[in-house]
Symmetry: D2
Subunit: 390 residues, 4 copies
């Protein structure tokens, strides 16, 4: 069931299950569309909600059979692991608080995992998952979707190949405005869980979108954070968690960074923008214009690279699916995450050693880094935005 | 197999077959991804190439069974029509010259059709297909993909509702540069068939992309062409067909238009751009920034509407799948064409009368208009770009 | 009184007079600011209006002495020519109908001229001015302001040097919206005279702004028009002259062009945009972003050149006054026209032969071409937008 | 000598002198063009350089008489003050280190001042100037040019009128790339003095351009800084002063800000950009597109206001000189600073009390704030970018 460019890496079809993603979920449908995009995997099992009625309705609607629709994720992990046609992996797309226990249950039962970020609330939990995965020789992919864009991958390779020299500064921003007013009071469900510390964890804005800046910058630049000073602002009447975050960064190589994320920045939809400045050039990428990359070299004019038109490093270029000027978007980026992870699973099934770097999907190490980033940001903010060692 | 927003209109799953779309085809994979995007249909039969070996390889790769992989489209039309589990429709995605005979074969055998544009080379052929479809009570969808974008649909509703008043001028352009040099001589297959009059028909550039301008303008504005003056330029050494087209239009309501399409406009990828100016306002849409629509009203500032953020008329808004700022692109637009057509097929299966306007998919009338536009443009160009009545 | 870069070409200070540009004039003040910008000339005489009271008020306000404020332009031409400190040139900035008789009066009295476009209503009048200027060995500059921009000058040199190869297509547009509704009925003076055939001549929109497209394209590309088909639309209740123009062009080298100008294109201020496509590359310039030039070469990425940053040909680069990113605009472009013309006048005063090409100011030949373009467009439009030989 | 819109406020002509601005100066010529732009003042005296030969050459070139060309600024202050036709004010446009002593000399001799920023190196010096000006009843204008743009003035009025509600966040940035490599070693004079602490003071980048962010944000938002944490980076081999600055801000109203300035951000010319987010809307202005202002209100689409097109508050709208779409730029912004200051001087000459707020020019209070901002930033940076109370 492989099509187009992807066919060469085809090794069969994977089977997967899903935890979360029932009625009212936005991200569940995105994951399912992404998973089926290249025909490498098929959804066969699920526990889509804490409400079994929701799981049943969703699962039947998706054409699943009742015997693989489960009351809770523990049951699902146990029973699936006992089947001969056990799922090859599970996708965990619940609100934050359930990521850790669900992932743990599947890893303990020998099932690989795709998990939404942040993978846990606490850092030690994340490290525990890493130990479990290693011990049981399982793969773990964190669905940091924005690293799935071809132009982001090209940017990573540019930095790696020294095209822009030594990195001096990084500017990352991710403004949105959907929480500019407290819509959670009017029953908007996405807003309700994100602004609730019991479900979302210690951080809302910085955890939800600031952590994407951290991830994409890390992925492109390879820089490690040495310390940070974070000011998390709780804006919007009656709120308990941050809806705006301004974070200064010192990297271990001496470079300086700033990450700004906001859910109350009126005029912005989902405007993740990453700028990386080196001694020989710079790169700039905006998620809402994801098919383009602004590149400037010392003494040269500003260039706009276009996916499908300009030559890209294979890491990115090979994932460009349709011709230049035919916009690819969020779904394709997400599909690339699944596609690369599937290739790793195929390799593992064939008994090969799976090098995360080679298969280029967001790993547990990335997930741990994200949890740490969120925790350190909260720690700094609570001490008056003072500098905290990473 | 229904997900997200689409679930409300679910009526079961359709089965379809495909003609064309084998190895080396770009558009075949796009059609298949679009068709499966919303889970409303499943590919079960195919004749993917004039080479049966290609059909077999492609079909098996797609998981089809051999008994539904056919040597030619006539065999496919006849045999499928005799099966109890006959396909609900066929998708014809071959090069241009085969559209007409293939479509005819399926219509004659009682099978509805999705067909790439131009649906025929000659106008009388197109009209014959219309008669056949009507006689056999079949549906026919022309895959004019660009009308699938939510912002294009919103623009149509704006005009219909009088938001910009009476239309005075239309500016349509569609520059590309992939044929700036004769790459067909170096064996690029897409270039080879498009520049070959035996396969492409009377027109290359204006037929391939100029006709998209004609279609999107017609869809949004509702204007009818009264006459046109077309200058088709054959640019690029050794070529026989146009690679650039400049066409002035007089509409029946007195408005003036200009359509420019080019495959040799260095610096442009796939830059379809439509501007419509009325007495009370204007709208402007660029395909490469498909999630936005520029709108200006008399005496007001320029506004940029964003899909998912700003309120849209339901015709467009209902087809917005993911939140604002998460880019949707070409694949989603194409999926919308299939999704709307599927809704019409479901309705037909339930015995309801299918009003094309209501189901909002590109119909045979649109396809006929496109064939006429191409023919009239060639006629004008051959007479020195003189004015030709439409 | 020379400053900055310009000082090297300083040869003294010129004295000039002005016809038109009194109270309520927009362009008079622009001319005066441009003339004094580089300190090469001083305003000393004027006939600013048909109303002597207006001339007196304006002139005194500008610090002129009464003996050089005149009742009419004929008096001014005669009397100035008899003074020892006669003006070096006159600037004619009246509404269109007076350009020809005023220019004629000064040329006949041995005074060089700067004149607003169109220089005359009829072609034979323009040719008469040319003969007069030649006979009396006078200089004549047409204030086609947009060729004064450094990036336009760079574009000209790029074409001349073959950087983009042979030109294949030209797309010129100049949409505005200030006449979207008939504001002339509410006493707006600019609108009143422009829409009045007695003052404006045969054409409003195409004469006022379409002729700028013609001029800038000619300046950059060097192409000559072979024939054109023009549709001039009279939009706006109660009007007699065109407010929208769509013109197809065949150039003598075989290239195709389209010029669109409009005063009723809601959403546009003064959006002159020129795109020129060659066999090896393309250039694109937008007046409202006048400090940048989009350039793309075959097989390379899209580049954005920035005035002051990227290396320009001297014709443009030498007229860049302030560092990159400090916007220069309309006033500086206009000042460049005056500055280059002043250099030519200095050279003439020194007895040198003045080669228009070398001094790079818009000449009578450009002005004649503009008058012809307006006339031919009207001729074509009146015969149903049929093709008319240039 | 008044033209156009400005004529209504005309009260005569001012005479001024200049300190600095000789050969090789960029900003001197800008000041002179700005000063003469509206015809309200005339340059009559100068000490353009420490080299008298340079002063003579520059002064004579500018048409000044020798008796008003001075060896040093002290001589100039003293001698001018003794003349009956003493200058109305002096413009000080030297490198930073001389601002304070020169300004002091003129104030002590009863002459009003226009001074480049930073007005002094040390805060107590700035406060001393303030006392002097007050004591001697003199006016003092700091040439913070960017507040001269009409759209910046409109933004200020929007905030003042509550159009965007309470301010929550501010993002200011000002990237350049002209010092990406150490061109000061190759004798570039602008680079040489700016990177030299003896001439430039304690800070280069943040002092030169970071202080513009501080000023424009303060002007538009009215916010007061409570504390800041600044990381000043010395990038570029062999340098002693910062070329990049990242500064987090806490404002007294609880809002959060970030100011980033850089001279090594490859790909940027002079990209000052200010974004201000309130509870009811947001505004965004980019200096390189200075004629536009992006405005978004809660629940409304993004709007792009255009100077000359959309209705502006008079503070900005009255300084828009030419019609929409005819770009105004840096020179006009600078001219507005001079024009407003001239109006204040006229009023003072008429014996009226001069309210700085009313005449809307950058005052000594602004200048003092800038000096403090630079000092506090250095203080924070030297203590590891820790938080420093303002």
């Amino acid at each position: 069931m492989i099509e187009g460019k992807e066919s060469k890496s085809f090794k069969g079809t994977l089977k997967y299950g899903m935890v979360g993603g029932g009625r009212d979920s936005f991200i569940g449908d995105v994951h399912r569309k992404a998973a089926k995009f290249d025909g490498k995997m098929e959804l066969v099992a699920g526990c889509f909600s804490r409400s079994y009625e929701n799981t049943l309705e969703t699962g039947v609607g998706l054409g699943l059979t009742k015997d693989r629709l489960y009351q809770d994720y523990t049951e699902m992990a146990v029973k699936e692991s006992q089947r001969e046609d056990c799922i090859d992996f599970v996708s965990i797309v619940t609100p934050n608080y359930a990521h850790y226990p669900a992932a743990k249950a599947f890893l303990e039962n020998g099932i690989s995992v795709v998990c939404e970020k942040p993978i846990t609330i606490e850092l030690d939990e994340a490290e525990e998952l890493a130990k479990l995965a290693k011990k049981n020789e399982l793969l773990f992919c964190v669905s940091y979707s924005y690293t799935g864009y071809p132009m982001v991958k090209h940017a990573r390779e540019m930095v790696k190949n020294g095209d822009i020299g030594e990195i001096r500064m990084v500017m990352g921003e991710y403004p949105q405005d959907w929480l500019a007013i407290p819509i959670e009071k009017e029953g908007q469900k996405q807003a309700a869980w994100r602004t609730d510390p019991k479900i979302s964890g210690k951080s809302n804005c910085n955890g939800d979108i600031g952590s994407h800046i951290e991830n994409v910058v890390s992925y492109i630049s390879g820089l490690a954070i040495e310390s940070l000073a974070a000011k998390l602002d709780i804006l919007g009447e009656g709120r308990e968690l941050d809806t705006n975050a301004s974070i200064m960064i010192k990297y271990t190589n001496g470079a300086t960074g700033h990450y700004w994320s906001s859910q109350v920045a009126i005029g912005y939809d989902n405007a993740l923008k990453i700028r990386i400045f080196g001694t020989k050039g710079s790169i700039e990428w905006e998620q809402e214009s994801c098919n383009y990359l602004k590149v400037t070299y010392l003494d040269g004019p500003v260039q706009t690279l276009s996916r499908g038109r300009d030559e890209l490093y294979p890491l990115g270029g090979d994932l460009s699916r349709i011709p230049a000027g035919h916009p690819e978007g969020y779904n394709e980026a997400f599909a690339n995450i699944y596609s690369n992870f599937a290739n790793a699973l195929f390799a593992m099934k064939e008994g090969k050693e799976v090098d995360n770097e080679k298969f280029d999907y967001p790993s547990l190490a990335d997930g741990i880094s994200g949890v740490k980033f969120i925790g350190k940001s909260v720690e700094s903010s609570e001490s008056g935005a003072s500098w905290v060692t990473f």
